[in-house]
């Protein structure tokens, strides 16, 4: 019997149990619009690959990482200096996390400006926003785990700011810290959130997000919808092959950054030492941080930082409700959301660059 027969036999065995031919039929039917903005379709796939890298490298790091206050820093140092390829895995985890956040921003804004949040993709948009928040939470909780000086003080400042959120802030910050000070309780909580709670939430929300993307297909921009001649390409194999090549190419960019600029480790955190000068949070929180720094301690009867946090809340809320308000029926509203998106992007980039240079 030839090997082809074995293959066919295995296929029919699998088909009877999983219904694989049905899936293939669906995949073959799927088409991707081809237009000038097609490149943005790749962002979701890149984010998915980066998330997979995070999962894999995270599991490997957990083999040696010890979430205990006197061992956390030394265990990361051990990974960086004693384990073969340890530095590579850790650098990959840290760099891919940052690049992932960047790609998520690009993905979100490309969907926003292409009005991909409109009917019937409202829930896809909401789930995408939820994924962004989950990834922020991954970043915030993961940042503390190496327990070095910068991580400690950046987390401290971050939690102090979060504590000022009206009504729930102080309680939430205390819960996260495991008391009034950052210590063992905080590491334990952050570790648990980082490796158990957030991954569960991520898988659930990402599952919904992906399912909806498959259900509704790729969103078509207005200019494409109005075009006389519409060009489509098959998802399998044409787009998928290109998708795969883009992933590979992107992985190489990440690998290049990892190899040329491996992620370092600062001195072990000393809670009793003064905060080092010029301490800053991760780049994706930098715009908010820089903005809050500008605010006076009090604006009228209110505390400056509280007003700042409320302002951020409103900004995020406008993005969130875009599918509900901008349904495409009113051109003026649609234009307003375009302008809002541009201003938001310029503001975010401007404050981030300012924060880096400051």
């Amino acid at each position: 019997m030839s090997s082809v027969d074995y293959g066919e036999k295995f296929y029919s065995w699998l088909d009877e149990r999983v219904g694989i031919s049905g899936l293939i039929k669906v995949a073959e039917k799927k088409e991707v619009p081809v237009h000038k903005q097609s490149m943005w379709y790749y962002m979701g796939g890149i984010a998915m690959v980066l998330l997979a890298i995070q999962g894999l490298t995270g599991i490997l790091l957990m083999v040696y990482y010890v979430p205990e206050i006197s061992s956390a820093h030394s265990s990361v140092l051990f990974i960086n200096t004693q384990i073969d390829f340890g530095w590579f895995v850790r650098s990959l985890h840290s760099w891919a996390a940052n690049i992932l956040i960047f790609i998520l921003f690009v993905h979100m804004f490309s969907a926003y400006f292409m009005k991909a949040y409109r009917k019937p993709r409202e829930i896809t948009w909401f789930s995408g926003m939820a994924l962004l928040v989950i990834c922020f939470a991954f970043g915030f909780t993961g940042y503390l785990l190496p327990w070095d000086e910068i991580a400690f003080f950046a987390t401290k400042i971050g939690l102090d700011i979060a504590a000022k959120t009206p009504f729930i802030g102080a309680t939430l910050a205390d819960m996260l810290r495991g008391g009034s000070e950052i210590g063992q309780g905080t590491i334990s909580r952050f570790f648990l959130i980082h490796v158990i709670l957030l991954p569960i939430a991520l898988v659930a929300v990402a599952g919904i997000h992906l399912l909806l993307v498959q259900l509704h297909g790729m969103s078509e921009p207005e200019s494409f919808k109005k075009a006389k001649k519409k060009k489509y390409e098959k998802f399998v194999p044409d787009f998928l092959v290109k998708d795969f090549m883009v992933w590979l190419f992107f992985f190489n960019i990440v690998a290049a950054v990892v190899a040329l600029f491996p992620w370092g480790l600062g001195p072990e955190a000393d809670p009793f030492a003064p905060a080092p000068a010029g301490i800053k949070p991760e780049w994706y929180f930098l715009a908010m941080f820089q903005f809050l720094k500008l605010l006076p301690p009090h604006i009228g009867p209110f505390e400056g930082e509280i007003l700042g946090l409320m302002f951020f809340g409103v900004l995020a809320l406008i993005l969130l409700v875009a599918p509900i308000v901008d349904t495409g029926k009113n051109k003026f509203i649609s234009k307003c959301f375009d302008i809002y998106g541009i201003l938001f992007t310029i503001g975010f980039l401007g404050f981030t660059v300012w924060g880096i240079l400051d």
Binding site: I83, D84, A255, G264
Partner: protein, 455 residues
């Protein structure tokens, strides 16, 4: 020591040479691999009477001619200019040792250039048989330029018995000569495929549909889609390096000195700034990029040539350029702390002269500042350190010195003065400080002005 120093602020001399060299290597490898590509592909066109391939080759050869003879030649001369200014002692040794080799190389190069011009300008003007002979002749000539330059390049890393015997052929046919020759040959073929992907991706089938084909390729499954056919054909040029490259790579590394391998393996574990792990990191990156090119080539133009775009071909080029840059840089780094392994340090000081200079003093042996004065410390820095370091740019001394004061710097230089690797582990990657104790003091005095720690 024997020549004045050419100071390049910011990037330093080594990066300048590196940048020119990487571009040149990518083009010169194309010149050799492309020669083989023309010979094989034109033979296929001749054998099958395929006018489409002829038409394609005609267009491709224009691109080839411009890329190799203009950009390739300019960067080639650029290398000579830059290395003779940045590393005059090393360049001088190579010229003196291989005068005849260089002359022969030049002869082959000149004939090669002349042939490619004749090749390009005789399309449709001479018989097909004669034109095919030109392609084969060009391939042979270009391979011979590699045969010679490979001996000199590999000599710098593994001069072998030459260090004792000084017999040119022992240096030329050194331990890494053969593996290096074959690896380069396979890489050149892959680079030829890479360039061919770019030109093939630009093919418009309607320009080729009326061209005759006497005998169809029995393996062509693209049913008249010539663009897809050429893309698939180009991708096959990647496979020799991926199938045979690892074998010759293993052979190559088995021949390099043990210290070099130690430097690589030390880097497998650690990644901290200041240790030597950059070599290991660079090699990993090169392997990752190479793996990507292989997968790209297989799932892209080989399996799905119809969906392979021009942008993807350019992405290939970026990866290829990346691998070339990293591999060449790693090869240069492998030699550290020497410019010619075991014979001459990267700052141009010969190993055999170290004891004598330590005894007489560095300034006493220097042709450009034999007398001691206020600038002697800076002079010693420029001569002994600036081949690899800059004051504030690449491998910045100011950054590396950190908060060290003059006494600490002096202590460090005294350690670096040791020529026993057991006592001075920096010898694995940096030349020893050569000179007297008074000269250590002069250099420490100057270095402490860089980080403003002069007491």
């Amino acid at each position: 020591m024997n020549y004045p120093v050419w100071s390049i602020p910011g990037i330093g001399g080594s990066w300048l040479v590196g940048l020119i060299s990487v571009i040149h290597v990518f083009l010169s490898h194309f010149a050799v691999g492309g020669g083989i590509f023309f010979a094989v592909t034109e033979w296929l066109a001749y054998k099958r009477g395929d006018e489409r391939i002829y038409h394609y080759l005609k267009k491709h050869s224009k691109f080839f001619l411009l890329a190799t003879t203009v950009a390739g030649a300019v960067t080639g001369v650029g290398i000579w200019f830059s290395i003779s200014l940045v590393s005059p002692d090393g360049t001088g040794t190579l010229i003196q040792n291989y005068t005849l080799g260089w002359a022969t190389e030049y002869l082959f190069f000149l004939t090669e250039i002349a042939t490619i011009f004749v090749y390009y300008y005789t399309w449709d003007k001479i018989s097909k048989e004669l034109h095919l002979s030109l392609a084969r002749w060009y391939a042979v000539l270009s391979v011979f330029t590699l045969v010679i330059i490979n001996g000199i390049l590999s000599f710098m890393l593994t001069p072998g018995n030459w260090v004792e015997s000084k017999l040119w052929y022992e240096g030329f046919f050194n331990p890494t000569y053969w593996p290096s020759l074959f690896i380069r040959l396979f890489v050149m073929m892959a680079i030829a495929g890479m360039y061919s992907l770019v030109t093939s991706a630009r093919i418009k089938n309607k320009d080729y549909q009326d061209l005759k084909v006497k005998e169809k390729d029995p393996e062509d499954k693209n049913q008249g889609d010539f663009r897809a056919y050429m893309l698939k054909y180009s991708s096959k040029w990647f496979f020799p390096v991926f199938i045979l490259g690892p074998i010759f790579g293993f052979w190559f590394f088995s021949q390099v000195p043990g210290n070099v391998l130690d430097n690589i393996f030390n880097g497998i574990q650690a990644s901290g700034v200041g240790n030597f792990s950059i070599l290991a990191r660079a090699i990993y990156l090169s392997l990752i990029l190479s793996g990507t090119i292989l997968i790209f080539a297989y799932i892209g133009p080989y399996l799905n040539p119809k969906g392979f775009s021009f942008i993807a071909a350019l992405a290939f080029m970026v990866c290829g350029l990346g691998v070339t840059a990293i591999s060449e840089w790693s090869r240069e780094m492998l030699r550290k702390p020497y410019v010619i392994y075991g014979y001459m340090y990267s700052n141009g000081i010969k190993v055999s002269e170290v004891d004598k200079i330590n005894q007489d003093g560095f300034l006493a042996h220097s042709k450009w500042q034999p007398a001691e004065d206020e600038s002697s410390g800076e002079f010693i820095f420029k001569q002994q350190c600036m081949k690899c370091h800059t004051e504030n740019g690449y491998r910045s001394m100011t950054r590396l010195l950190g908060e060290r004061d003059k006494d600490t710097i002096k202590g460090f230089l005294t350690l670096m003065h040791e020529t026993d690797v057991e006592k001075n582990s920096y010898l694995k990657i940096m030349p020893p400080f050569v000179g007297t104790e008074a000269e250590i003091d002069m250099l420490a005095d100057y270095l402490s002005t860089l980080n403003h720690k002069k007491s």
